[in-house]
Structure formats: structure tokens, C-alpha cells
């Protein structure tokens, strides 16, 4: 555990907070891309340690949150195919589809199983040769290699009862879409600043490397610091962003060099490229973005559940409460979760209106969980000693 403890060191965090304060000459907004980073920030109250004027904006990096409702509906439909076993990661179970979620489908008798690795779905397929096993594949570049490997193995083993619904998406295209012109538009009036710098998600870069981020930093004229997930990582990443901004630089820096190599994991990249091709993809509440998703290549189409079964949804969004949830504004950093009128009222983890309240990486869940619904943390607290 020493390895983790080093990156949670109390003194180091305090020192970095001070260094950020000293380095900063004017207000800045920095977006952390990954939901895992958002959770570390909110859980440890790192935002409260930052100097006044430095605002952290939560980005779209929660794979569960950005999965479009059509894909959830398709998964629920797949679960209802006669004799089918629908496998997915636990987080997807509670994300609301148009009329229900996978947990409800399960409670009504569908065979829906939570798994920890795509390869588990493969062994379920092997163990149940007469049943169709559909894996609902969700995630960013980080999870893509394991999904690709599952499909690759299914093909080499000649497994005919295995298929996937791909809701895999890519980070750079959505960042480009969100940040390309004037930065993130603020819905609340009074600020004309967009996002000044980005903390890129370390694990995504561990797979894909830094190449695309160099392009992104160049075209958006934006400092990008590839950052880890522990408190020391985040504070250091923020400091590196501030230092670049103060020096009027915009380049890619790698704070997470203990994990991320400049070229990424080439073996993982190869398997992803073998099985998947970039395709236009839908993002929940953010519309369709070209080349932002992964779909199976021609040689692997037999494993595409959406081609294998009729999974297209009949109807979409017939709900009367439609409009309350502002997931899109949260996912683009335009509002903080407590600024949504439904937050902690109509929308709670128990009765989520949108995916960011469900996912363990969702920003709304982070605020609900760690702040009890407060924007600035819980101020009332007695001494513990």
C-alpha cells in the first residue's frame, strides 16, 4: 500500500496547494476530464484546498454517464431475447433507460449478470452453449482493449453464442467538440471565461499514449496535463496547468509518467485496432460526434448484437419528467451538480433521473455522496478529538 500512500501524503498535498496559490496571478478554470478524478477531488475536498479563483470544472469522462439512452434500451431489449444472458458492468444496471433499467428488467425475470471483466462474459458463453450471451460493452479507451480481446477470442474459438453491444467511446473527439471554439459556454451569466486548461485522464492515455493530445493542445491552444487519480497527482496536475497558463504555454505534459508512456500501450492499441474501427457515436445529451465511438470491424460483425438481434428501440423519451435532468450541462462542466434544480430533490442515487447520479464516476453521485448536496462541502462540523 506504500505505493498508494505516497500519493496521498498530507504534507505534499498542502505544499502543492501553497505552490498553486503562489503560482496563480489570475482566476482560472481547469477541467478534469475523468469521473474518477472528479470523485477524488470531491471525496477529499481538494477543491476546497485550492486558492480562491481557481475553479475545477467536471468533464465528460464518465463512461456510464455518456452512454446514450438508445444503447441502454438496446441492452434491455437484448436481455429480453428468449434464452439470452445479458452481461455488463455493475454501474450500468441502474442507469435509467426509456421505461426501465437493467435492474428492473432483472427483477422481472431477465437473466442480467454483473461481471468484472469482458472475459467473464466469454466464459459464461462457453458454459452456456445453447444460450445467447450478450455483453454490453461500455467504457473509454481504457476498457476497449479488454473488450476487443473478448471478441477476438470469441472469433478464434468459434463461439457463436457471444455478441456485444458496443457503447465504447473515445475521449479526444468529445474534448474537441466541447472545447473547440470559445471553450465551454457558461449557462450562468456573468462569466465569459471558458476552460483554460485540461487535466487529461491518465488511464486513457496509458492505453492510447499522448499523440492525439498533442494535436488537441495545438489546435485548441490549451494546456493539457495527463494526470493520475490520487490527491497528490491531481494537485500536481493542477499546478502544472497553472504554471503553463502563467507562462502562456499550451502543450501536453505528463504528470502520470509512472503509468503513462508517450506512445501508450502498443499491444493494447493493436488489439483494439484489429477488432474495432472509429465510428460516429451518440453521447447522452451531447448529440452525435463523428469518429468518437468504436464499432466492430467487418471481420467481426457476427459478434455485433445490434446486427444479430432486433434491438432498435420502438419509442424514445416519453417521460413526463423529461427536462428536469440537466446531465448534459453537468457533463460539459457548465453547471455543478447542485445547481441542477432536481439535484437531491427529484433526483437521488435511489431514484436517479440521469446517469451522472448513478455511476460511481458520475459528478452528481460524487456531490450527493460526499457533500450531502452542498456545493461548498459541509461547513458544519464539530471537532472530532
Amino acid at each position: 500500500m506504500r505505493f498508494v500512500d505516497d500519493f496521498r501524503d498530507e504534507e505534499l498535498v498542502a505544499t502543492l496547494a501553497l505552490a498553486i496559490k503562489h503560482a496563480m496571478s489570475k482566476p482560472r478554470r481547469i477541467m478534469e476530464v475523468c469521473g474518477g478524478q472528479t470523485h477524488t477531488i470531491v471525496k477529499h475536498g481538494l477543491d476546497q484546498l485550492l486558492p480562491y479563483g481557481l475553479e475545477l470544472v467536471h468533464g465528460p469522462g464518465c463512461p456510464v454517464c455518456v452512454t446514450p439512452i438508445e444503447k441502454i434500451d438496446a441492452a434491455i431489449k437484448a436481455a429480453s431475447v428468449d434464452g439470452a444472458i445479458l452481461c455488463t458492468f455493475g454501474d450500468m444496471m441502474r442507469v435509467p433507460g426509456t421505461t426501465q433499467d437493467l435492474l428492473t428488467a432483472k427483477a422481472h425475470g431477465a437473466d442480467v449478470r454483473t461481471i468484472y471483466s469482458p472475459l467473464e462474459a466469454l466464459s459464461i458463453a462457453r458454459d452456456n452453449p445453447v444460450r445467447e450471451v450478450v455483453f454490453f460493452a461500455v467504457g473509454f479507451e481504457t476498457t476497449a482493449p479488454a473488450n476487443a480481446m473478448a471478441v477476438y477470442r470469441a472469433k478464434s474459438e468459434g463461439l457463436r453464442n457471444f455478441s456485444i453491444i458496443s457503447a465504447l467511446v473515445l475521449v479526444p473527439p468529445i474534448l474537441h467538440k466541447l472545447l473547440d471554439t470559445a471553450g465551454v459556454e457558461r449557462v450562468d451569466a456573468g462569466s465569459d471565461r471558458g476552460v483554460d486548461a485540461v487535466l487529461a485522464a491518465g488511464h486513457v492515455c496509458a492505453v492510447m499514449g499522448l499523440k492525439e493530445y498533442h494535436r488537441l493542445a495545438e489546435s485548441l491552444r490549451l494546456p493539457i496535463v495527463v494526470t493520475g487519480f490520487e490527491p497528490v497527482d491531481l494537485m500536481q496536475g493542477i499546478l502544472m496547468c497553472v504554471q503553463q497558463l502563467e507562462a502562456h504555454q499550451y502543450r501536453v505534459e505528463n504528470q502520470y509518467s509512472r503509468v503513462v508512456l508517450p506512445h501508450g500501450n502498443t499491444i493494447a492499441q493493436r488489439i483494439v485496432t484489429e477488432v474495432f474501427a472509429a465510428t460516429e457515436a451518440g453521447w447522452r445529451d451531447l448529440g452525435r460526434v463523428s469518429a468518437s465511438g468504436l464499432s466492430l470491424r467487418d471481420g467481426y460483425l457476427e459478434f455485433d448484437a445490434e446486427l444479430k438481434f432486433p434491438l432498435t428501440a420502438d419509442s424514445l423519451c416519453s417521460n413526463h419528467q423529461r427536462g428536469l435532468c440537466r446531465a448534459g450541462a453537468v457533463l460539459t462542466g457548465q453547471i455543478k451538480p447542485p445547481q441542477c434544480s432536481a439535484f437531491a430533490k427529484e433526483c437521488t442515487p435511489m431514484h436517479p433521473l440521469g446517469a451522472p447520479m448513478v455511476s460511481s464516476e458520475g459528478a452528481c453521485a460524487a456531490y450527493f455522496h460526499y457533500r450531502g448536496g452542498q456545493v461548498d462541502g459541509a461547513s458544519q462540523f464539530s471537532d472530532l478529538s
Partner: protein, 350 residues
């Protein structure tokens, strides 16, 4: 930025007309369900007092503690225990949380057609051994066989009775501001042991369930004259759900210091890898003791003399601030709320 096409999301339409797994996970949904069901039982004594067992006065010298629990754990065997062992210890501990020493248990078996007799014998042997260790007799029982789909299931219900000294009142309503919050040992081992058996995650050395009887620990506190205000074993929902439940039922706030909570290096490692928070992991041999403010040190001293309490730790205080809420102080001088779990805790996916 390109315009956000729409910032909406439909609300779920699952007003839970059917039971979901999360209704049984000891979190918010289960509490909602109980709030709905209990009023349907008008004879229920002390409906508002949520406790692990009921106290029934039977005479001037003795009260009877009575409890029941059903065990449905999968798989039946896991590192450090099995369904039989926790069926005994779970019920013994529910009685212990009332301040009672378990006297007798019942054992009801619901067995699916096709279940292996040898496995059943193995579970019974384990129950017998656990009963011996806990010093309780299994005195009555029942056996039912049901049609089974998979033919692999066994469910066990145990009920237990025990005697309590009428002078002892251990209940959330006695919790007051300033009380010490003590945990009897390191948390999360049972949940990780079951999770590892369930998903073929193996650890070396294996992480074993902490399933054990807590009677001796509680009796040691009582005999030492420690003013115990409340006891709760941190089973489903873990330490966090237990403390939130106590905060809500007592109307007090719970203020806990994160780094004081004992978690073994191994469990911490698993939690790091899977993205789990140990405070939500189930335990089967770990209790929370809320004792009078000035008795924290003496309670700790007593607890650490008993095997089940060797790693006992003072983790926080009851406060009149933030009533009904559990707050945790982290390492950086910041604090966060810790709510009850609203579903099952899930490993992260990236």
C-alpha cells in the same frame, strides 16, 4: 463549443412494483421498504425502534432477547466461513447487540430439490462447530424441500433467544452528544472474502471472513461496567450504513475520523483495485459500540483483552451538530458526508 443538443434525461419509471436485489442490501432501499411494511403489522412492538432484536420482559429478574435472521449467502462456502457458520454467528451477534447471551437457536432449512446431501452435512457440521464456539445450543428446527431450478440452493433461517439483565438498556435512543464511537476490529474482510469466492478473484494469502461470535466482547464490556449506550454489528451496508442508521434513529450526528478506521492492508489493496469503499463492506464479526463520553479509553482497554476486540479503535464522537448525518474527516483537513448506500456497491469500470 458546439451547442449541447439537449440537456435532458428521462426519469426512470421504476417505482419498484417488484423487489430488486438492492432492497436486500441493507441500504436506503431496504429502509424504504421496511418503512412501508412495518405499519402493516399493527401488533409490532416498538415499531420506531430499529434494533437487531426485540426485548421481551418475562419477569422482574430477566428480560428475553429474541431475534431471527435468514441466510442466503452465495457461494455457500468462502474463505473463512460458510453459510452454516454465519447462520449461527449472525443470530448470536444480533442477540449480543441487545446485551444478551444467546441461550438457544432454531434452525430452519429450505433446500432445493437436487441439493447434495454431503454438502448439507458439511454445512450442519459447520453450524455445530460454530454453536460450540459461541456456547449456544441449536434446540429446534424445520426442514422444507422446494422445487428448484438449478438444484443448488440452500437457505437457512435461525432464530435465537437469550437472557438480558433488565438493568441493561442498549438502544439508539440512549445515544447522546459526546459519546465515543468505537469499532471492534478491522473492517471489510467478510465482504471481500465472499466477493473473491463469488468472482474467482483469488488473493494470496486469502482474505478470510471475520465471521465470529461477539458475545464475549459485549459481556466483557457489561461486566466492566462500561455505560454502553448502543451496540450494532456492522453487517450488510458496512460501518457507514450502520452509523447512518444510528445517526438517524438517535437524531444525533456521527463524526468519524477516516484514518482511525482500521482496515487491513490486504482489504485496502482490494478496495483500491476494485474501487470499493471499505466503509460499505459487510462484516460478520465486527461491532460498533457507542459508549458514554468519558469511558472511551476504559472501553477500549476492556475490548482489546478479548480476541474479537484486539484491534478495537476509537473512530469518532457523537455530536449534536449535523443531526442524522454521518460526517467523515479526511486526511487533508476537509470533511465529507457519508450517506447510506443506495444500492449495491459496485466495482468501478475504468
Amino acid at each position: 463549443m458546439a451547442p449541447v443538443s439537449s440537456q435532458i434525461c428521462p426519469s426512470p419509471l421504476f417505482a419498484s412494483s417488484v423487489i430488486q436485489m438492492a432492497h436486500g442490501s441493507g441500504g436506503r432501499l431496504m429502509h424504504e421498504l421496511l418503512a412501508r411494511l412495518l405499519p402493516l403489522l399493527p401488533g409490532t412492538v416498538h415499531q420506531n425502534v430499529r434494533h437487531d432484536g426485540a426485548i421481551i420482559p418475562v419477569g422482574p429478574w430477566e428480560n428475553l432477547a429474541f431475534t431471527t435472521d435468514s441466510y442466503v449467502v452465495r457461494p455457500l462456502f468462502f474463505p473463512g466461513g460458510d453459510i452454516g457458520k454465519i447462520a449461527v454467528n449472525g443470530t448470536v451477534n444480533d442477540l449480543a447487540m441487545c446485551g444478551a447471551q444467546a441461550k438457544a437457536l432454531s434452525c430452519s432449512l429450505i433446500i432445493e430439490e437436487g441439493f447434495s446431501v454431503a454438502t448439507l452435512e458439511r454445512v450442519m457440521a459447520s453450524m455445530a462447530e460454530a454453536a460450540r464456539v459461541a456456547g449456544v445450543d441449536i434446540v429446534t428446527g424445520d426442514t422444507k424441500v422446494i422445487d428448484g431450478g438449478s438444484g443448488g440452493n440452500l437457505f437457512i433461517n435461525t432464530a435465537g433467544i437469550g437472557a438480558v439483565n433488565p438493568g441493561i438498556t442498549i438502544t439508539p435512543s440512549r445515544i447522546v452528544s459526546g459519546d465515543a464511537i468505537i469499532i471492534s476490529g478491522d473492517i471489510g474482510r467478510h465482504a471481500v472474502a465472499v466477493m473473491s469466492a463469488r468472482s474467482d478473484l483469488t488473493f494470496n494469502p486469502p482474505i478470510e471472513s471475520d465471521s465470529m461470535p461477539l458475545t464475549a466482547l459485549v459481556q466483557a464490556l457489561i461486566q466492566a461496567g462500561i455505560p454502553i449506550h448502543c451496540l450494532r454489528d456492522a453487517t450488510r451496508g458496512g460501518l457507514a450504513s450502520t452509523l447512518v442508521e444510528l445517526a438517524e434513529s438517535s437524531g444525533c450526528g456521527m463524526a468519524v475520523v477516516e484514518k482511525e478506521i482500521p482496515v487491513s492492508t490486504q482489504v485496502r489493496g482490494v478496495c483500491e483495485i476494485l474501487g470499493l469503499d471499505p466503509v460499505y463492506l459487510a462484516n460478520e464479526g465486527c461491532l460498533v459500540a457507542i459508549v458514554a463520553a468519558d469511558f472511551a479509553e476504559s472501553a477500549l482497554k476492556v475490548m482489546r483483552t478479548v480476541a474479537a476486540g484486539e484491534r478495537a479503535q476509537l473512530i469518532g464522537r457523537v455530536t449534536s451538530q449535523h443531526p442524522g448525518v454521518l460526517m467523515m474527516a479526511g486526511p487533508y483537513g476537509t470533511k465529507r458526508t457519508v450517506p447510506m448506500l443506495s444500492g449495491d456497491q459496485l466495482p468501478r469500470i475504468c
